[in-house]
């Protein structure tokens, strides 16, 4: 039989009636509240009992400081009235009483409302505004990329994931803030008319549950698409990163609790907890960055390489859809190949590089393959490739070529200041390939290129 039960309660500081009822109901089932953590409320198994719970608010209470003299005096006063302190949650002090008809903890509704407002201004509003800033940052950063560089945006699932997350978070926070504001206005009116603070509806709780559900679903969809696009390394990185963040939060919370339990002042606690937070965050970011670079986590694994003319060449080059050998029929002694794959639910993207060394010197081949299902996005991708490069002093233009030798549907060739170069754009019904060669291909090479890049039926 388990001793503890951990439950995620989607409640806010102003849901005092719901909290009191929830805790009484839990104790009636044999679970007594023991502690309120960052994510979960911890209940300890106890004898089922009909008890009363009530909360009050202390403006001098803090998550960082040990109980103040005021809190201790309040606890003594409550104990005299039959109320036993159970836990605290920011400024909220939670008491229980086993008396059949205990004196209510709060008997002045105007004072209660004033204290709740003070507590909300200290915790709820700053944290919500901070999160709102983060949500707006996501919207501006990724929305900006969607507008200015849509191809890059759609080349990874991170873009749509962060943008949707930003919108969801902003909507959730806005609804949450409006919910509190509505409750406060109505309570002010009710108290002014001699009534009580109104009962907060379950809307806020459902909103929070709904947001969490959607967030989990969104994350699952993101990870699923990443996995399907061959991004298993990104999925593992994401899972590891999330686990590390949760561990960081756990350690920071434990530090704060330890310092609070050992009587450190609020200032020292804040300083040390913040220090631990910054050090761990810096260690996490630098450790992950080092790991990603050192193990080439997001790149194609190139363990067996050697240097040849300052180029990192492969002992066992990876397979690519098109190679210089395919084009020339020659075998090369020194080959360097790289491939970067990405994609999202909208498109699949692959960028390949090859450098080979022959008697004539170094030759290179670079191409990007983009598979797009929808026509509107295909057009965006094509226009993006054809867009003039602002940093280039040369005037760039693209002219159509005969697609027949390429076995494709449409082909464009790039012109620099009116002079043709060896960069081509090939298009099939679902695929676009941007190809850069050292020299223009002959008819046979065009045919080989077309066959190599032709998408499967």
């Amino acid at each position: 039989m388990k001793k503890y039960k951990y439950q995620m309660e989607h409640l806010s500081l102003y849901h005092f009636q719901a909290i009191e009822e929830r805790l009484a109901a839990m104790e009636a089932k044999g679970w007594r509240l023991e502690k309120i953590g960052t994510f979960f409320w911890r209940y300890r198994r106890s004898e089922p009992a009909q008890t009363h719970y009530a909360v009050t608010y202390r403006q001098d209470a803090s998550q960082f400081s040990p109980p103040t003299e005021g809190q201790q005096s309040l606890e003594a006063l409550c104990a005299d009235a039959g109320w036993e302190k159970v836990a605290d949650w920011f400024q909220m002090q939670i008491f229980r009483s086993a008396l059949p008809h205990p004196v209510p903890l709060e008997t002045d509704e105007a004072l209660r409302l004033e204290n709740i407002r003070g507590s909300m201004r200290k915790n709820f509003l700053p944290s919500h505004l901070l999160l709102m800033g983060f949500a707006l940052f996501l919207i501006v950063a990724w929305g900006g990329q969607l507008l200015t560089d849509p191809v890059r945006f759609f080349q990874s699932s991170s873009g749509w994931f962060c943008l949707v997350l930003g919108f969801l978070l902003a909507v959730f926070l806005l609804c949450s803030l409006m919910g509190y504001w509505r409750w406060y206005r109505k309570s002010v009116q009710s108290v002014a008319e001699g009534g009580t603070c109104i009962r907060a509806g379950r809307g806020s709780e459902r909103l929070s549950q709904g947001f969490l559900g959607i967030l989990i679903l969104l994350t699952a969809v993101y990870l699923f698409f990443e996995w399907c696009r061959g991004g298993s390394r990104r999925v593992f990185f994401w899972l590891f990163y999330t686990a590390a963040i949760l561990l960081l939060i756990y350690v920071v919370q434990k530090t704060r609790e330890y310092l609070k339990a050992h009587g450190f002042s609020k200032g020292v606690n804040v300083l040390l907890t913040l220090g631990v937070d910054i050090i761990l965050a810096a260690a996490l970011v630098s450790g992950l960055t080092w790991g990603v670079i050192h193990f080439d986590w997001f790149g194609e694994s190139r363990n067996n390489t050697y240097l040849y003319q300052n180029v990192s060449c492969d002992y066992s080059p990876i397979d690519l859809p098109l190679t210089r050998t395919d084009l020339t029929g020659q075998m090369y002694e020194h080959i360097s190949r790289r491939r970067h794959q990405g994609g999202s639910i909208f498109l699949a993207y692959s960028s390949c590089w090859e450098i080979v060394f022959s008697a004539e010197g170094m030759e290179s081949l670079h191409y990007e393959i983009t598979d797009v299902q929808s026509e509107w996005l295909r057009q965006i991708v094509r226009e993006d490739y054809m867009e003039a490069d602002d940093s280039s002093p040369l005037k760039i233009s693209w002219r159509p070529e005969d697609p027949v030798p390429w076995h494709t549907e449409q082909v464009w060739r790039r012109y620099l200041d009116g002079e043709p170069d060896s960069t081509y754009l090939l298009q099939w019904s679902r695929r676009i390939v941007a190809l850069s060669l050292n020299t223009p291909p002959d008819s046979a090479q065009k045919s080989i290129i077309g066959i190599c890049f032709k998408p499967p039926a």
């Binding site: 608010y57 309040l74 004196v103 004072l111």
Partner: protein, 97 residues
């Protein structure tokens, strides 16, 4: 506020005040410990009562001159209300407002 200040004519702690109010009002008025503690702090800050001693976590207070004059003003306000009621109610033979 009225009953709390009234109770501090003598030096008392919060628990005594809660009990005293319940007794003198025959259970008609109850002040919860959460509310009482907030008000005690406010009264101390405003100089209406002062802390006299501390026994463990229990603090004792007594009314100040400022608190006494505020209590007096409140008494006069309430008395005026009662006198107005008596003077104006028709069943008391009072004049029409």
């Amino acid at each position: 506020m009225f009953y709390i200040l009234l109770c501090f004519q003598e030096e008392r702690c919060g628990a005594d005040v809660m009990q005293r109010i319940r007794t003198v009002t025959a259970g008609r008025v109850e002040v919860g410990p959460g509310t009482l503690y907030s008000l005690l702090e406010r009264f101390v800050t405003e100089g209406l009562i002062r802390e006299t001693s501390t026994q463990g976590r229990r603090r004792r207070y007594v009314i100040t001159e400022k608190g006494r004059s505020m209590l007096e003003r409140e008494y006069l306000r309430l008395t005026t209300l009662v006198e107005d009621y008596r003077r104006l109610m028709p069943e008391n033979g009072g004049e029409q407002p």
